[in-house]
Symmetry: C2
Subunit: 491 residues, 2 copies
Amino acid sequence: MGKNLTKRSEDYSKWYNELVIKADLAENSGVRGCMVIKPYGFAIWEKIQAGLDKMFKDTGHENAYFPLFIPKSYLSKEASHVEGFAKECAVVTHYRLKNSEDGTGIVVDEDAKLEEELIVRPTSETIIWDTYRKWIQSYRDLPLLINQWANVVRWEMRTRLFLRTTEFLWQEGHTAHATRQEAVDEAELILNIYADFAEGHMAVPVIKGVKSESERFAGAENTYCIEALMQDGKALQAGTSHFLAQNFAKAFDVKFATKEGKQEYVWATSWGVSTRLMGALIMTHSDDNGLVLPPKLAPIQVVIVPIYKGMDQLDAISDKIQPLIDELKAKDISVKFDKRDTHKPGFKFNEYELKGVPVRIAIGQRDLEQGTLEIARRDTLEKTSIDMDKAGDHITKLLEEIQESIYKKAETFRDQNIRSVDSYEEFKEVLEEQGGFIAAHWDGTAETEAQIKKETMATIRCIPLSGYEGSGSCMVSGKPSERRVLFAKAY
Amino acid sequence: MGKNLTKRSEDYSKWYNELVIKADLAENSGVRGCMVIKPYGFAIWEKIQAGLDKMFKDTGHENAYFPLFIPKSYLSKEASHVEGFAKECAVVTHYRLKNSEDGTGIVVDEDAKLEEELIVRPTSETIIWDTYRKWIQSYRDLPLLINQWANVVRWEMRTRLFLRTTEFLWQEGHTAHATRQEAVDEAELILNIYADFAEGHMAVPVIKGVKSESERFAGAENTYCIEALMQDGKALQAGTSHFLAQNFAKAFDVKFATKEGKQEYVWATSWGVSTRLMGALIMTHSDDNGLVLPPKLAPIQVVIVPIYKGMDQLDAISDKIQPLIDELKAKDISVKFDKRDTHKPGFKFNEYELKGVPVRIAIGQRDLEQGTLEIARRDTLEKTSIDMDKAGDHITKLLEEIQESIYKKAETFRDQNIRSVDSYEEFKEVLEEQGGFIAAHWDGTAETEAQIKKETMATIRCIPLSGYEGSGSCMVSGKPSERRVLFAKAY
């Protein structure tokens, strides 16, 4: 298997597209903008799901499921929400097909036209808050901490595997609270969970911040976000957590009786991460040889490739290696022993490099004689020979080390690519020549923000929750600025 | 909390509908025929998912994800498939909304009409086989053993929570094989997994069989099924596994090179179970007091209700009971200690009975003094007092006993409700007066089958894989019959 992967330095975008296909993660389907997530890609997504789901449950959230379809009238109830989502949604207008009269195929049955069109959910605030009205009467019913894992559809014009697809998979949390403060706390709790997951599981360093008003979720009073930096210097929004104030409660008339018996509107949050995280994962760590996966999310953590001639040698290797396989499995390490005789070791090495398996073990005739193994780590491509009887402990530690090491590497890259600039000229220069995050002063107006976006393609990724403090003057308008914000070109 | 549950004997159907709502499992949404699965119901579904998913993976299947939308033309490619599904599907015709010209709301943007309509998947054979064409070239690519967990939509006219909803959740397996025999074996392997899961986890006894030709899946050469019997004497199809022969491979032109280098069409299976299983679970075990859940699927396996006056007593109980809670948790038993002071013990007893928690522990002042606990099992409503220091082991065994006991009870009921009849008169009489499965001779023709269905509402649930052997004459036509088949009215 030749990898034939375009180099990142040649064409980063092409490298990404090829890698997603060649590593068997996903591919485009026959349906415009919709992807097929292949088993290997889906196995990574399942690990992302499992990790996040546990964190949500550990903090008191429960899963539920709400309808795929949203009546058109629901979408209209929250004014800014409909502005944000009506322009890119899939609309169901009919509920039946029939044979065409000329007998050449099937056509929409015009007799089966819906009285009210249904929208395929682009996000579920409206259908969920319509439901919450029935669930919430009193302060005793609060907080309501609910999450759903679901597919959503946004009719994107330009799509890219994982990063922007018409249909994508995500989780969306929707919580209801008795007070403003509780809802704000929840939005921040989730932001921290997202950041912890990104850094601790995905090994992707992120910056926590809030969005500027024009980048906020349609219907939110405040949008918290985590922003990551890809190797090409572009930012990627990896998760958002919204403080919705009472906007949806008012739109859907959801009130509760306080302890004192007063009727008040409920406070809300919503938050989500999606299969886009797969894009962040791929672009943060991978290299010109293929995927690099953090051990915590790798479907196969250790692969063992026997190097042998004839079945006798393979049997001897199998016998010798079995105790190690058992030891690793007992430690919940996923191991694959690739005995296939249809492919040569070199082909297998290539394949597992491409697929980002963190640790590869090779064992051949000489290893058998010497009681050794060759261990290769995917992130650095370093190979070492170790004693077989120490392999179990060695590999356990190595997996931890790789997890940490790829995080550090990504963090160093990210930190080296945050630059403070004080003039708009310098801003443009850095943006074009170096990319990365640019910390600059901004006057806080949507006008200036729009001007910068129009002239440079850079957007305010976030107003960081910590760091970059200190007042100054806006690099564009010269007006006073309370603090620097982070700009970047973004996915 | 008064349960106010209609009695099964009064109105079984009303009892079911009320129970689903009152036990907080699901409710109807604002979207016609679509349900909201509430957290408690979803927690059961998650356990069903986890159990099945493990069984699929243990037998070599992998998960993947395919698009929600199916181009209309795909659906038409397999002739009988389109016949079966075109009449009840949701059709996406547009991809944008806009503000109405009179400013009163939003309307479909006619400029955003799709060139080809998209169908919301009612099942995914067509989109998946269109993809498999790209994945399968050689015998080395086979077998392909893939499953997906997804939502599907069938525009049902009459809907009922879990049993028949417009949108439902399910898993659908789609496998590809080099030979007919391998595909048949796969379909049977899955049938056995379904049966083992139903009996071993859900405690629902099932009969394994194949469908008559007219009840087959649209596009299948053979449909295997598991059939369960509900307490009202109606049958419920709990899962199906289809041998698709080469039908979809031919429709989508999926060929592979054999070892000998010949090009052949691929053999296929597909198989699924859905949230309908929730209906089977509820209706098999529950009683006039509410849900009865098998311990293996109960989100809360043990609930502890303290009976106390004042915080001092509660603290004393909490201290005393904590070791038991720790012991049970260490054994992976899910325990809830319900300390709420907003509700009285009697209310809580009612609530957990309604929700089917298998084991309830009550502990009060006298128990503290005597070192005892009151243990009530949900299935029999029996209460016993036991020594606190033996509680851990006792409860572990009790959960196993309940799992077994509710299975036996359901099995006894089912076995008592399978009756052999030899004349059509007797058939009608038994069907009306007793219900259940009726084993009768049938001449094997679709005409007779249709006549019986029209005249009695009973359908052939399955031709059992074992039992009921021996030839005879059709109860309707008098023509020869090779074996008895099972009839019933069904959900």
